[in-house]
Symmetry: D2
Subunit: 162 residues, 4 copies
């Protein structure tokens, strides 16, 4: 979920490429291509895990969080990145080639170094997948880093009240 500052906004030519923020939720459209399916005729289960990562990346992008914002406060500016600590996914219904899916992402908990996100993938009015994902901000060397104020504020504003 790193973002390069030069690319952190949607391209002017392709306005929806990073999806949209809608209230507390981020919505990303994802087309199912050949590469996402398997010989069962359905979407391969790990493809949904990739789709969720795309949703999280674009959610962070549209929150305006840049790579440089992720470095620990205090100025040492060690490069930092979010890594996935745990995922839990329920596969409810299958998707198929050519389907247009929507990956919905919301932040449900903000810890010292961690975020918990709830994600769902929908096909029209049908929910296909529900996932809970915990990510942690770590330094290059693998040490958990406290979320900086700007990052924390961006997620707090976007967080779904529970």
């Amino acid at each position: 979920m790193l973002t390069r500052s030069t690319m952190s906004k949607a391209s002017p030519s392709w306005p929806d490429l990073a999806g949209r923020i809608d209230g507390n939720r981020h919505i990303l459209p994802v087309r199912v291509y050949f590469e996402d399916t398997d010989f069962s005729g359905l979407v391969y289960h790990a493809s949904y895990v990739r789709f969720c990562e795309r949703g999280r990346s674009d959610y962070v992008r549209l929150l305006g969080i840049h790579h440089s914002d992720l470095a620990a406060p205090g100025g040492d500016q060690e490069p930092a990145t979010f890594v996935v600590r745990s995922i839990s996914v329920d596969f409810l219904k299958p998707a198929r080639i050519d389907d247009i899916l929507e990956v919905i992402t919301e932040c449900i908990e903000i810890g010292g170094a961690t975020l918990t996100l709830h994600q769902e993938i929908w096909l029209g009015t049908v929910c296909l997948i529900k996932a809970d994902v915990r990510v942690v901000l770590i330094s290059q060397s693998g040490k958990p880093l406290r979320l900086g104020d700007k990052v924390r504020a961006a997620f707090e504003r976007s967080k779904t009240p529970h």
Copy 2:
């Protein structure tokens, strides 16, 4: 490059999801995500091959060619699909995480059962990749099938004069 008739048009909510036809060319925007990169820090070379397939799929989709149009004329309606017979790719420049790429596809030759497509992937004003791809229409059982009139006409209208 199969298309389901129910999904063969761009979604009304996400108008650019299948890219755009621009003259004789189809243009598809592709965002680079974590999944597309490798530990070198750059995009993994086979990811460009996947991106080209997405471009071809959406080009066929926007030409209005449906799965049912691919069945052999004469009405036996054996399910048919395009498969890749050969690819030749020059990798000129690398792409990186968060880049917005444009996959450009044009048809340069129409044979009895085959199409030859030229594809390029650009980052802004820089060409990263050039590819020539030959696809062949085959039946379920693997037999090459002559392109039907509707399919042939759609590609003829779109074909780049050489």
Copy 3:
């Protein structure tokens, strides 16, 4: 996790290609290649999900369960397959390019139509990943199917007592 009867055994030339059964556990070696890593320099999180699926496929293969064994008893022989109903993964430590990982799979619960598997991925003496995976046997049309006697017996023999 379908197996073709013609390929259900390890190849004579490559004896360990499907890993080994060791007591109640199946062990599959997996090399980390370029394709499995991302630009962080580490293995991409969804790659471990793919590695777990390889482990399950080869576990079923070495249990001697063939595709034809999966069809519902009673002889209607509707093609059946295992699909993933849920996964829960803890990512403890990262893997890197060139690492040789071992995917360990054991069956911990056998239901009417479902199996619950516990999987771990190790690098030498370090556990990188723990996963619980529930799979369900379904018919072509998506209906859950009761596990047949031969399949049930194979998993019962292999099941880890809890």
Copy 4:
């Protein structure tokens, strides 16, 4: 095709994991899993491109070429890596789930900074894929680097006379 010196040899427990050198050729067995197929029921075309990369990685590994050997001679030891400059692939016959494929790699030309490799993928006695791949050694900053003496000698010894 980087190799970590600590992992550059086959694991003692899994002797064939990196395949085998057989005369001038390297042979790597590859099992087809769910992840490699698509909804057509066959192996997805870009999966073969990944399989070829695995073959090249293990060929370099079994030639005994370590990451540290790739740095330019003269001792500045700038990290170097092979990148793919071009590929050309003919897809002759399809593979299917559970198939055991053999990826065969040989070096057919050694240039100043480049290697040209011929690769084929076989299923039993049937050739499915033929590919020519040109790789170039580049520095971290993207500059082509002359192959060092040790690397050149290893490929010269292994090169197929033409």
